[in-house]
């Protein structure tokens, strides 16, 4: 057993233990750990975001390589800060409008092709060249997709045939949520295992 002599490792290990004290009960050490994270995260994100603004908006404005673009984006960016003014807060809506309009245009065209048309095509594709099991799975999948969509049809009362279809759709969704739960367990356990490895091996040197 060779405990680490690296001060960086000790900093990380002690902060890890500080945060883990919440497992026992809520306490000031955990709150301190939380606030340290908030401070460091905010500072880090400020630097990365400022880097983008400086390189893409301010530098072209200062060195003349992008006067119009740099000037317009600087004005639109600064207008956002009018939110703090009781009299001129509505000016920020101009910047938000450009952002919302652009993003909406991008997502509308993107959703149409990448998610609606492609996924409908994939649903109705029936595999004919492979094993009978593949054909069965394709047909079953198509039925399940239709039933899932039928579950969200609230225009008609879900009774009779539609009721059964919607019920099967609900069962399909439960299977999907179960799969998502299985994946969630893996992700959360992974993060915990990695912290255990750090404490046991990197810090305490147990292996």
């Amino acid at each position: 057993m060779a405990i680490s002599t690296d001060p960086s490792v000790w900093v990380a290990a002690l902060l890890t233990i500080m945060a883990y004290t919440i497992i026992y009960k809520d306490n000031p050490l955990y709150k301190l750990a939380e606030h340290i994270l908030v401070g460091l995260s905010a500072g880090y994100l400020f630097i990365q975001t400022w880097k983008m603004i400086y390189n893409s908006s301010l530098l072209p404005l200062f060195n003349g390589s992008g006067l119009l673009f740099g000037g317009i984006t600087l004005v639109l960016g600064v207008l956002l800060f009018t939110k703090f003014s009781k009299k001129y807060f509505w000016l920020s809506n101009i910047s938000i409008a450009v952002l919302v309009g652009t993003a909406t245009g991008l997502t509308v065209r993107g959703y149409l092709f990448a998610q609606l048309i492609e996924q409908v095509k994939a649903s109705i594709k029936v595999v004919t060249a492979l094993q009978p099991l593949d054909i069965f799975n394709s047909v079953l999948s198509l039925i399940m997709v239709v039933c899932t969509l039928a579950y969200f049809l609230f225009t008609f009362e879900q009774k009779g045939a539609l009721g059964w279809i919607a019920k099967f759709g609900r069962y399909t969704m439960m299977a999907a949520f179960g799969a998502a739960y299985g994946g969630t367990v893996m992700t959360r356990l992974t993060i915990f295992i990695q912290r255990m490895q750090y404490l046991l091996f990197t810090w305490l040197g147990l292996a």
Binding site: I23, Y24, Y44, L45, Q48, T49, K51, M52, N55, S56, L59, P60, L99, T102, A103, L106, T107, R109, G110, Y111, F113, A114, Q115, E118, Q119, K121, A122, A176, A179, A180, G182, G183, T184, V185, M186, T187, R188, L189, T190, I191, F192, I193, Q194, R195, M196, Q197, L200, F201, L206, A207
Partner: protein, 281 residues
Amino acid sequence: MSTLEKVEKIDRRIVYLVLIIVVAAVLLRPIGLPIPISSSTKKYYDAINSLPPGSVVALGVDFDAGALPELGPMLEATLKQLFASDKKFVIFSLWGGGPAVSTIYLNKLKGLIESSGKKYGEDYVLLPYIAGGETAAAALAKDFKNTVKNDYYGTPVDQIPLLKNLNTAKDFALLITITAGTPGVEEYLRQWVSPFGIKFIVGALGVSAPNYMPYYTSGQIYGMIQGLRGAAEYELLVGSPSIAVSSMDALSAGHIVTIVFILLGNAVFLLRKYSRKEVKS
């Protein structure tokens, strides 16, 4: 309180302690269970290998510190495969943590980079974080160089040889994203894959992989590494078993603990339900 009731209302800290003890025990005494390779991980690996020499790969490091345990091993193995290959690549990020994470792993692989003979600026480049999510993905796809202006170290893009001919998404042979969520897979599908038809492979968290399966089965995603299990498979394919492989036994133990607790909890619940029914009748 009956015994069953006491078991049902057990202090949750006892449950936590069981998890800690089991995982620690398996970490200290690994079992060495075999790790079969799944087809989705193999396709991720093959997608990089099958590219012609000199192809340029777009590598989106789209996660931050919280997802490092699961996605970090994927990134490390991807970088190892790329540095060992005859491909070039550009690293960029739609997440704020991307540049720092990339820097940490590039520093970690310094020795490998030197022995590979790959030169910064000619064979690989690190770009800064681009805010905006969907708009950032679209801006990069449509006008790659002008969206970033400089690399992460402040060098103007027109002074970087690798970026000279990279104007749109079409100039890349492959898009890889190792992503913790949004922005990520769906933004790239909408702004890179659908308009430009670029081949797309994904490194995904275990929690996200089920959500991306419709895209994988439709062929929009060519290959996918799913969670830490996928990362372990990928490390074996790359020939560099590392932290993901060494975590597999502990992952198995953690899963068994969870399943046992689900079954135990339901067993107690059903026993209490039937014992109450008997008392009533």
